[in-house]
Symmetry: C2
Amino acid sequence: MSPATAAAKLTDEAGVQLEESLGLIGYRLRRAQLSVFQRFAAVFETLAIRPAEYAVLVLVDDSPGRKQSEIAAALGIKRANFVALAQGLEARGLIERLNIASDRRANALHLTPVGRSFLARARALHDELEREFIERLGGPAKREQLLDLLQRLT
Amino acid sequence: MSPATAAAKLTDEAGVQLEESLGLIGYRLRRAQLSVFQRFAAVFETLAIRPAEYAVLVLVDDSPGRKQSEIAAALGIKRANFVALAQGLEARGLIERLNIASDRRANALHLTPVGRSFLARARALHDELEREFIERLGGPAKREQLLDLLQRLT
DNA sequence: TATTGTTATACTCTATAACTATA
DNA sequence: TATAGTTATAGAGTATAACAATA
C-alpha cells in the first residue's frame, strides 16, 4: 500500500481504519458518545442550556423537594461541583432552593413556574432529538437493543 | 410514593430511577462510556499509560512513519494538544520522532523496540479487557450488535 | 462525629490564536 | 499562501481538602 493510500485510510471518516485496528468497544463507545453529545449540545444551544443542566431540571421535576446532594449524587456529580450549577439555574429563575424545616443545612430543589415551561420546551427538543437517534439506529426495537447492551456495560 | 422511597430510587445504582425519566440514549451512552473508560484506565494504570496514549501506540504500530498531524487527526486530537502527548511517549522511549527528507517540517512517528514490547503487553491487557466486556454483553454476537449500533450513531 | 453546602484548588481534556520554519 | 510543529492560554469537567453551620 502506498503512503498516500495509507494516509487516506488513516484519516478517512474520522478514524475508520483506526477503528479496525483498535477494533474495540471502548473506542467506538467514546466516538458515539462524543457524536451524540455534540448533537445534544448543538440542539440545546438554542435554549442556552447544557446537557447536565437539562438532566438536573428533569430530575427536579420528577422528584421535587430533593436536597442538592441527592440530585448531585443521582447524576454522578460531586456536590462541590454541583453548587455553581444549581446557583446558575437559580439565578436564571428556573429553580428555587428552599429551606427545609427539618434540616436547616439543606436546600430543597424545586422548579419555578418559569422553570416548568422552560423544561417543557427542552423536553420537546429532546424528544425530537431522540427520534432522530431512533431513525439513525433503524427503529425503536434497535434503540431498545442498544439501551440493553449499554446497561450491561454500566 | 413516600419521600424516603423516592430518595432510594433516586440514588440507587447511580441513577437508575433517573434513567427511566431521562430515558435516553445520550444519558446511557455517557454512563456506559464512563464505566468502560474507568475500567480501561484502571487496567492500564499498571502500565502507567492512558487510553489516548495506547491508541497512539496502536496507530503508529499499524502505520509506521506517519506524521504527527496525521496520527492526531485520525484520533480526533488537535495537533496542538498532541505535542505533549507525543513528546511524553518519546521521553519514555516508546516512540521516535524522525526527520523526513521530503519535508523538514514534519516528524515521522515510529515505535522503538522498547515501544513494541511495551505495546505487546498493553495489547494483551486490552484483549483481556475486551473479553470481559464481551462476557458482560452476552457473547461475541452481542458485541457485533453493539458495535453496529454505535457506528450508526457516529 | 457525621453531613450539607460551600470555597478554594488542581488536574485533565479540549479549543483557539499566534509564532517559526518550512513548503 | 499554506502547512507542521510548537507555545501559550482559556474553558469545560472533574477530583480532593477544608471550613461553618447543623445534625
